[in-house]
């Protein structure tokens, strides 16, 4: 491969990687920190994307739509976790297995509901920054990617700061380390988990808006993002926010290189291949706890 092309592929990969980090932070919290088998996370992302598409028909900017939908997703996440906790976590037994089947079913239902209400065609949004690009020497940087990178970095860093600086944020990390100890300190681990899961779901609103800004979406897109988001979350080392950013970039560059050398039809396998490799070699990830 030519050097210029290689450099261009790497830059494109890094930008893509920031975006992948943004769509995976929620999963890093829900799965990485709380151990919830949140396999429906990508379905919520696609739901967020369709939310932005729906509001976009009334002239709302996709990013604004994402921000507007965030509280709605927060409440949805709160309700979903309340239900999950009451039916599975508290009952114990083979809750893990059934929880997994439950979230799988939820994601399937979301996908079919989207098909029934929007059809299977690809949808996209319009905004002033979509379709333009910035010339940087020889390279052309699409403006929509730059916007996505900006928002993605903001989202990831904000969440990272929240988890390490605020009281509740630290409590969320503490739940992940030792639930029993936390309850001995007088904090209610279940309440903290509700809060954390709601935040994780809320990120899907904004990240979903990014999803539709970066690429057109279709209801079945969630399945591909199972690979991407879990690849990033596991590679990051379950729950590490800086790790999520680094892992996102690794996946982004890997996908971009494969895209440029083997062609687009092989790209879907990259995330899953990388995921299998990580699971086989180092399941605790780069920054494992």
């Amino acid at each position: 491969m030519h050097f210029d092309l290689l450099a261009e592929a790497i830059v494109a990969g890094l930008m893509l990687g920031c975006f992948y980090a943004a769509v995976s932070v929620g999963l890093s919290v829900a799965f990485g920190l709380l151990d919830v088998p949140q396999i429906a996370h990508p379905a919520f992302l696609v739901l967020g994307a369709y939310g932005a598409y729906f509001l976009g028909q009334y002239g709302v900017d996709p990013l604004l739509a994402g921000a507007l939908l965030t509280p709605v997703f927060f409440l949805g996440g709160l309700a979903l976790y309340r239900f999950y906790h009451a039916t599975f976590e508290r009952r114990g037994g083979d809750a893990g297995l059934r929880g997994l089947a439950f979230f799988f079913g939820v994601s399937f239902i979301l996908e079919v509901l989207l098909i029934l209400s929007f059809g299977v065609d690809q949808r996209m949004v319009e905004a002033p920054y979509i379709g333009k690009s910035l010339a940087l020497g020889e390279m052309r940087l699409p403006l929509r990617m730059l916007i996505a990178v900006g928002v993605a970095l903001l989202l990831t860093l904000a969440l990272s700061a929240y988890l390490s600086k605020t009281f509740t944020g630290r409590a969320i990390k503490a739940v992940a380390q030792d639930e029993m100890a936390l309850s001995l300190m007088g904090a209610d681990p279940v309440r903290i988990k509700h809060w954390a899961f709601a935040i994780a779901t809320a990120t899907c609103a904004l990240a979903g808006a990014l999803l539709i800004i970066v690429n057109p979406v279709e209801p079945g897109l969630g399945r591909l993002y199972i690979g991407r988001t879990f690849c990033v979350a596991v590679l990051a080392g379950l729950g590490s926010m800086p790790g999520t950013l680094v892992a996102g970039m690794i996946l982004g560059v890997a996908e971009s290189l494969v895209l440029n050398s083997l062609g687009a039809s092989w790209a879907p396998a990259v995330a899953f291949g990388l995921l299998l490799l990580i699971l086989a070699v180092r399941p605790s990830g780069l920054f494992g706890r």
Binding site: A101, F102, G105, V112, L116, V234, A269, G273, L275
Partner: protein, 316 residues
């Protein structure tokens, strides 16, 4: 070995009925619909061997099904191999895939294992998409040979074949369940470390269960190209297979061999009716909703509900 006599009489009756039906029934559509229902009986029973007995949730049933179908297509394109060879080859390929998945359980449990099966499915799909011999993303047409002697159409022969495969699957599942293997699998599902420490050969059992499960799923998929006369990756790898293979045992009941059979017969029949009368999206939605409802409200499925009712009735 209790009850094998009655079981084999039942199995023979089912096979005989299927044969008689191909002579008597006039409506060709019946065999098309019946084939699909039986195919789901095989998939659900196969999934349950690993998912229900051993507790390893496989989200990649679609990939095994498609791998069986594509093995058959590749053999037809390369050597124009006859159907029996296709069946055996498909079983070997997907059995091997199952073995590999079983080996992954060495390190991966719970959700990690399940995600890995999704990964295997997507990687298989990508490979097939890029494989021009079997048609790539556009798919390929398969012409069925003339129907064999004694059958008036090829679909009727496939219907009887799928009945036989379903009986084989159920027999194997029942054997696993009632033998030492089943006890070992149940032990490792409840607590793998504890089972290992009292001498249950967990790895060997898991490998066996995964291989058997995979081989049966491939067997369910092998006649699919001849049934459809056409195959393309999107429908062969459809998420519907993965969801149904998991939903049917959970809805029917995962603890006993009849559970997946009940779930599959019920759900697949409803699906066939809804697809024809309403829409195919709606029938997919029904599966998803029923899965969630049963997981939440009736974790032991229809069989569990029936047992509960039976107990209450006895106490009265």
């Amino acid at each position: 070995m209790r009850g094998w006599g009655r079981f084999s009489v039942g199995a023979s009756v089912v096979l005989f009925t299927a044969l008689v039906l191909t002579r008597v029934a006039a409506n060709e559509y019946f065999f098309f619909a019946g084939y699909v229902v039986l195919q789901f009986v095989v998939l659900a029973t196969a999934w349950n061997i690993l998912g229900g007995y051993a507790g390893y949730v496989n989200f990649g049933a679609g990939a095994f099904f498609a791998a069986g179908a594509y093995t058959a297509v590749a053999l037809m394109k390369l050597f124009s191999a006859p159907l029996p060879i296709q069946l055996i080859a498909a079983m070997c390929v997907t059995g091997l895939m199952g073995f590999v998945i079983g080996a992954m359980t060495l390190r991966l449990r719970g959700i990690f294992f399940s995600i890995a099966t999704v990964a295997v499915a997507v990687i298989c799909e990508t490979v097939v998409m890029n494989w021009s011999l079997v048609g790539g993303a556009r798919g390929t047409t398969v012409l069925p040979p003339p129907p064999p002697e004694g059958f008036s159409s090829y679909a009727r022969m496939l219907f009887v074949l799928m009945t036989a495969i379903a009986l084989l699957a159920v027999t194997l599942a029942r054997h696993i369940e009632t033998s030492k293997i089943g006890r070992g699998l149940r032990a490792l599902r409840d607590n793998e470390e504890a089972a290992e420490s009292v001498g249950v050969p967990t790895l060997r059992l898991k490998l066996f269960a995964a291989t058997a499960s995979g081989a049966l799923m491939g067997l369910a998929g092998a006649p699919f190209p001849l049934y459809m006369n056409f195959i393309e990756p999107t429908s062969a790898f459809s998420l519907n297979y993965a969801v149904s293979a998991l939903a049917m045992p959970i809805i029917g009941g995962t603890q006993i061999w009849i559970g997946p059979v009940i779930g599959a017969l019920l759900l697949a029949s409803v699906q066939q009716i809804v697809t024809v009368t309403v829409s195919s999206e709606l029938n997919v939605l029904i599966v998803g909703v029923l899965l969630v409802v049963f997981v939440v409200a009736a974790p032991n499925g229809i069989v569990g509900l029936a047992q509960k009712l039976h107990k209450r009735w006895q106490r009265r």
